[in-house]
């Protein structure tokens, strides 16, 4: 099993433990322990089982999801349900004074939690459809999802940030590294100006497809911003990265882009750079660094004849 997501959920795990502690303490301070003879062990087995189950659900939610809004909502929903079930379970051990408010509100968190969970599941559904869509590389249809770029159908910068976070975490534990390469279309603003934004979008889309076709399975390509693309390559040596970078560059620069019905072709030019990352601490630093590499590559390209 892969536990890479767990470190991102420290706050959630802490709040889970806190809530359990508070509920147990509350029950303990308001109620009185039952005599052994009064305890119904079949009930305990049943309700204890359900309590344990809700905890297992929370666990699986946290290990399988990156941190974010949907995860938080799922977690809060499950937590509320868990509180209800836990109170029910503790009932087996404690007797409360008559009409104590604790028994009155015991059932409340569960339905609330379920409503929250339903909302979360609906959002998860939307997220998943957007991702499926991206995976199938079909017609671009989803425009509102933050993990997929609408124009090119590649992943968005947001998704790349999440992936780099994961890679950094993995790298810390298993001493691995990862490489990034970046592509920047030259004179794209001028192109837009000359041929219009519809053609600009088309060009971006075609370049995106070329990048996607030239990388390996397991590499992740995303549109970073504007005319800038970025590819994440886990466990890849610099030599390999360079090779793929050159292949992709060649592929892009051989694209004979057509606007309209004429056979006149525009050949895109790209600036590229790559770097291997090992032992970095935050995705912000990594992205800042790769952008600097790109700026340096741009500077070099501007003066091709200097010594």
């Amino acid at each position: 099993m892969n536990f890479a997501f767990l470190p991102f959920h420290k706050t959630l795990i802490n709040s889970l433990l806190m809530t359990i502690a508070i509920v147990c303490l509350g029950a303990y301070s308001f109620g009185q322990l039952k005599q052994t003879s009064e305890i119904d062990f079949i009930d305990i087995a049943g309700e204890g089982g359900i309590t344990l189950m809700t905890l297992i659900w929370i666990f699986f939610t946290l290990v399988s999801r990156p941190s974010g809004r949907v995860t938080n909502l799922l977690f809060i929903g499950l937590l509320f349900t868990h509180v209800s079930v836990l109170l029910d379970f503790l009932d087996e051990f404690f007797i409360y004074p008559d009409d104590h408010w604790l028994t009155a509100i015991e059932a409340l968190p569960a339905p609330l939690g379920m409503v929250l969970m339903s909302i979360a599941l609906y959002q998860w559904h939307q997220e998943q459809t957007a991702i499926n869509h991206q995976l199938s590389r079909t017609e671009r249809f989803y425009r509102e999802h933050s993990l997929v770029d609408f124009t090119t159908g590649l992943y968005s910068a947001e998704y790349m940030k999440q992936q780099i976070k994961l890679e950094i975490n993995q790298a810390k534990k298993q001493q691995t590294s990862f490489s990034l390469m970046m592509f920047d279309l030259r004179h794209f603003a001028q192109f837009n100006h000359d041929y219009g934004y519809q053609h600009g979008d088309l060009m971006l889309r075609e370049v995106a497809q070329l990048i996607q076709m030239n990388i390996r399975d397991g590499d992740i390509a995303c549109r970073y911003a504007s005319d800038r693309f970025i590819v994440l390559m886990p466990n890849t040596l610099e030599v390999t990265t360079k090779e793929i970078e050159q292949q992709t560059k060649r592929a892009i620069e051989h694209l004979a882009f057509k606007h309209g019905q004429t056979s006149e072709a525009i050949y895109p030019k790209v600036i590229t750079c790559n770097h291997q990352y090992r032992g970095w601490h935050s995705y912000e630093e990594v992205l800042y660094d790769i952008n600097n590499h790109l700026s340096a590559a741009k500077q070099l390209a501007k003066k091709p004849y200097s010594a």
Partner: protein, 357 residues
């Protein structure tokens, strides 16, 4: 009145709205969603004489962030405005010979090129600073950020086309680094930085007014750097095509200008004076200011705070000199006010700006 207010239809920027509508169409979003609540209609937009109010445009921007949740909208709009959509102002700039010319044109065409911010110039022995504040109304941080992104993207498209050495330009944004930093990296190939103190300020200051300026800084040498496509005759030609009527300026621009002037001339300024100066009652002034989402005290603090921070961090003035500059009777008073404005003591803020974590 020498100014216009946020509800007055005085902005000739239908093209901006058309470009935004275009962007919506490109992303398969119904154009009327963008215009919702703005009392603008698609059919109005084709009227070249159409003028809209700041209020209406604010509403459109609000819709943009709601229905076009792509973090690049402001940057795209900025890069598409120049040169064609700035009309004669764009043509004048396109033929400017150096940055000085562009700045002169910017002053001349201010409310045509970019009516949302007003510009103030400061200089030291080494650097030129152009300091921008909201000109018409004090809007919330989302709006302000959109405007700052739009403006910087416009500035950079101009600078790119004029082949200005962009590495000599630094833009300082009045907020802390946003999530979509990638747009800044891709669209702004100059140096840029954020204001690390911005967060502290907004949590410290219970009155949620966004009071830091956008700042563009470059070395003095850049002013006369020869630019691409410079042509003095063409610049003049386009400049003369514009009738030289004195345009009204934004309300906030006007009030802040008065404050800056009075502070600089060591003259007393207060709400009574301002109301008197505008020949309106104190209550009317108060109402007008609150329609622009600000109080007299907030604006006055803003003016003095910006001045104080500038003198402190860029001019390296000591507390005494700054206090004297801002007409404080003594340093203790100044330090207390500074702490109230920024949440930091002068020394702490200086350290923070020098070593942003």
């Amino acid at each position: 009145m020498p100014f216009f207010e946020q509800h007055k239809k005085s902005l000739a920027i239908p093209l901006w709205v058309i470009l935004l509508v275009d962007m919506a169409k490109q992303r398969h979003i119904a154009p009327d969603k963008l215009l919702k609540g703005s009392k603008l209609f698609l059919s109005d937009l084709s009227n070249p004489k159409l003028k809209i109010s700041h209020q209406q445009f604010s509403r459109v921007i609000e819709n943009v962030s709601k229905y076009l949740p792509h973090s690049d909208s402001a940057f795209l709009l900025g890069s598409r405005l120049y040169p064609n959509h700035l009309e004669s102002a764009g043509q004048t700039i396109a033929h400017a010979e150096n940055l000085s010319d562009i700045i002169a044109a910017a002053r001349h065409f201010h409310y045509q090129i970019f009516p949302f911010l007003f510009m103030r110039n400061e200089s030291t022995e080494q650097y030129q600073y152009f300091i921008f504040n909201q000109a018409i109304s004090i809007e919330n941080i989302n709006h302000y950020q959109f405007i700052c992104e739009l403006f910087s993207s416009l500035i950079i498209s101009i600078a790119k086309q004029k082949q200005l050495p962009l590495s000599r330009l630094t833009i300082r944004f009045p907020y802390s680094a946003p999530r979509h930093i990638e747009q800044y990296q891709a669209y702004l190939p100059c140096k840029f930085e954020f204001s690390p103190s911005a967060n502290a300020v907004s949590t410290f200051n219970t009155q949620q007014v966004y009071h830091l300026p956008l700042q563009i800084k470059f070395d003095n040498g850049l002013l006369m750097f020869p630019l691409a496509n410079g042509n003095a005759d063409l610049t003049k030609h386009y400049q003369q095509k514009v009738p030289s009527i004195t345009l009204k300026i934004g309300f906030i621009h006007y009030v802040m200008q008065q404050m800056i002037k009075r502070v600089r001339n060591k003259q007393e300024i207060n709400a009574d004076w301002l109301a008197n100066h505008l020949s309106i009652s104190n209550a009317t002034l108060k109402r007008k200011l609150s329609q622009h989402n600000v109080t007299y005290q907030q604006l006055f603090d803003m003016v003095r705070q910006q001045q104080a921070v500038f003198l402190l961090t860029e001019q390296n003035y000591n507390n005494e000199k700054i206090a004297e500059n801002l007409n404080f009777s003594d340093i203790t008073n100044f330090r207390r006010s500074f702490k109230r404005w920024t949440g930091f003591t002068p020394q702490a803020l200086k350290n923070l700006n020098q070593h942003p974590s």
